[in-house]
Symmetry: C2
DNA sequence: GGAATAGTGTCTCTCAGACACTATTGC
DNA sequence: GCAATAGTGTCTGAGAGACACTATTCC
């Protein structure tokens, strides 16, 4: 990292002296935001949370939730993401992963701008979408609707796609989608989640072997009863940690 | 992405009117830089390029090359990375990959700052380190020397580790390290590169099967002669594209 | 018993690891 | 021929896919 000017070269300043004279606002910096794709499963489909922009630019268009870094409130980058997530959904400890950073001269009409894209996975039950603080218009959009039904503001179609691609890639070799389920779940429910993201059926035995052998979940002792044989309920052993499998799920050949 | 103020709410401005009144400099934005780990292989070891900081803060310390986004010269984020790489090494088309973005209040004493970490892979032969434009002190550091021998400025030890971890992870399931070799290479040379990054021996037959079956390289028709049986020379089929293997290299069991 | 879903037994297939083997050069 | 490195044949083994099978519930 270099300074942009030759400040600091001036004679022999100590670092303390240098910092005293340094004014970050002297230099032009790009706009800096964090945007996020919050995924959940509803009605056996993957959905992402969208917010209708109430302000210029892109007023009236749907967009991924996000916003500027608050230099006072946020200690680190991920705090901005957590803060936005909390505002929209009321959740404060979801699975959160940084995906990619996009920056260019043109992506925002206000000028050179940079945004860090995150994705979050939350269990459908956890959300109380009505309770969002800002009373903005918010929607759970089925992912097939992007960009046809919901053509997103700025380059958010691209950000969304990057997040979605990451999620689809990871379903093949990690246990990550487990974060879309509530605390207790059955193996069939878990398999369903994987199938939804993967977009194809998985062979039941293979899937169960894979999950059980990985030792990432344990029986809770409870069962889920329905109109048939009750299913054992499981919970994750080490919350937050994803297991990496040595081979990809291939799906049907 | 939301605006930070209620500018834009003012009556019913059109977007054009809004943008005319908008001044990006009114708001406090974090410092924004790009830093990169440029990897190469020298003397059968992985090395990374370091620059000695000639300016405050962190003057006199080693750091990853990088710098501020130039809002005029750089059209997109990756241009900043490419520009810095060109300045230090004279190379303009290496393998370049975005790794992770770090931002916090404390990582730079000048204030809230964000940096996007990239890594680059270059063939040792390509570099003319002497020809770097800025006449800074530059070194190829063996990666074991970080952070003991080279304790990097800012949080660059962390950035470096993130880049190195990404590279080590990818050697297991992609053909990416091929970018560390010159145009023409033998299979033994390629295997050596993989072993250096992986940190362990790979079984020759498995490795060759994996690479040949993936169809990512082709014989050039030339051979490399030494004091023994000549080796066929290969070159990559689709430059820049990495192959993803369905299973990880495991190394010896 | 029948429908429905949970859960298992076991064979096949693919691809990585192991390791001994052969091939081709310089000396 | 010998050393050195290039390159191959082929067996084993882990873990995924296929698919038929059994188990347990509600009605």
């Amino acid at each position: 990292m270099n300074t942009k000017s030759d400040l600091g070269q001036k004679e022999q300043l100590t670092e303390k002296e240098f910092l005293k004279e340094y004014n970050a606002r002297e230099y032009e910096a790009p706009l800096m935001t964090v945007d996020m794709a919050i995924f959940t499963i509803r009605k056996d489909k993957l959905h992402v949370l969208l917010v209708k922009r109430a302000q210029h630019p892109g007023i009236g268009k749907w967009a991924l939730p996000g916003g500027f870094i608050d230099l006072v409130k946020d200690k680190q980058l991920v705090d901005t993401a957590r803060r936005k997530l909390k505002e929209k959904t009321g959740i404060d400890t979801p699975y959160l992963e940084q995906v990619e950073t996009f920056g260019s001269r043109r992506r925002d009409p206000r000028g050179w701008s940079v945004t860090v894209a995150y994705f979050a996975l939350i269990a459908s039950e956890d959300i109380d979408i009505a309770s969002n603080e800002t009373s903005e218009e918010i929607v759970w959009a089925a992912i097939e609707g992007i960009p046809k039904k919901y053509n997103l503001a700025f380059d958010h179609n691209v950000l969304f796609q990057a997040c979605y691609d990451r999620l689809k890639a990871k379903v093949q070799y990690t246990s990550l989608p487990i974060n879309l389920l509530p605390q207790e779940f059955t193996l069939s429910e878990l398999q369903k989640i994987f199938e939804i993201i993967l977009g194809s059926k998985i062979e039941k035995k293979s899937f169960r072997r894979r999950i059980i052998d990985a030792n990432i979940i344990g029986e809770t002792g409870n069962v889920k009863t329905g109109s048939n044989r009750p299913a054992k309920l499981y919970s994750v052993n080490a919350a937050g940690k994803s297991h990496y499998f040595p081979r990809n799920i291939e799906g049907p050949r």
